[in-house]
Symmetry: C2
């Protein structure tokens, strides 16, 4: 299936490429849930704090899989159930998520746990290493 | 004028807050043009490589100004002309732009100048300091 985003890019700028892939209000929340929240299934994403609509979720999951940010496998114990997981390209979005979180925390009233922010600021490398290790363990 | 984004946030997560502000395909391209490209006017943004539509550009400029990412001043020599500039909150998006650029450069075929990528990777602090200095000089 070729989708809209298979069209030629608007420009060759890497920022533009990134925004054509994840520049919307939902994609990086799904990446967040996979990366930090432990959600793996359609149902778990639907239950997220931002109340994503089913059609939007289905669209974003298909797009994220198509562009290689996540992959899906059938649950061996229940073939009807699909489990999603980040690819290497998906886990590599961690620094983008960190900077967006830190930027919003500096300029807006939000509810990020202080320990998490401190770790992102002062122990970024450790934080990234830990994320990658958790992610490899799930492979 | 109260706009859509004045509504309560979907959640208190800082990532969600960031995406409600700049989670779209255009806003960060405008920030890029102000930060790195030297564009200051509506006409200059319109001429950008991604061919933004006039109505989308007008909408994004108004939204970015409302949420405090950019400000506008009338050109003293031509009062009909408006100049845009980043605020401190806007220039503080530089690390987000850097990570998006680096992520896309690692995983997609793009046309980023190698020297720019090298500076972002190996001399990030110097790069950020230079951006902030240029920005202060324009104040």
């Amino acid at each position: 299936m070729r989708r809209k985003n298979s069209r030629p890019r608007r420009s060759e700028c890497p920022l533009n490429a990134a925004l054509e892939m994840v520049g919307d209000r939902w994609s990086l929340l799904i990446v967040r849930d996979l990366m930090l929240g432990g959600q793996r299934t359609y149902k778990a994403f639907l239950a997220g704090g931002e109340r994503i609509a089913t059609n939007v979720l289905a669209d974003r999951l298909a797009k994220l899989e198509e562009i290689g940010i996540l992959g899906s496998v059938r649950d061996p114990s229940d073939r009807r159930r699909i489990h999603y997981k980040l690819t290497a390209k998906g886990i590599d979005l961690a620094p983008v998520l960190i900077e967006l979180v830190l930027w919003a925390s500096r300029h807006e009233r939000t509810a990020a746990p202080k320990e998490l922010l401190d770790e992102m600021v002062h122990h970024r490398r450790r934080f990234l290493t830990r994320l990658k290790r958790q992610w490899s363990a799930m492979e």
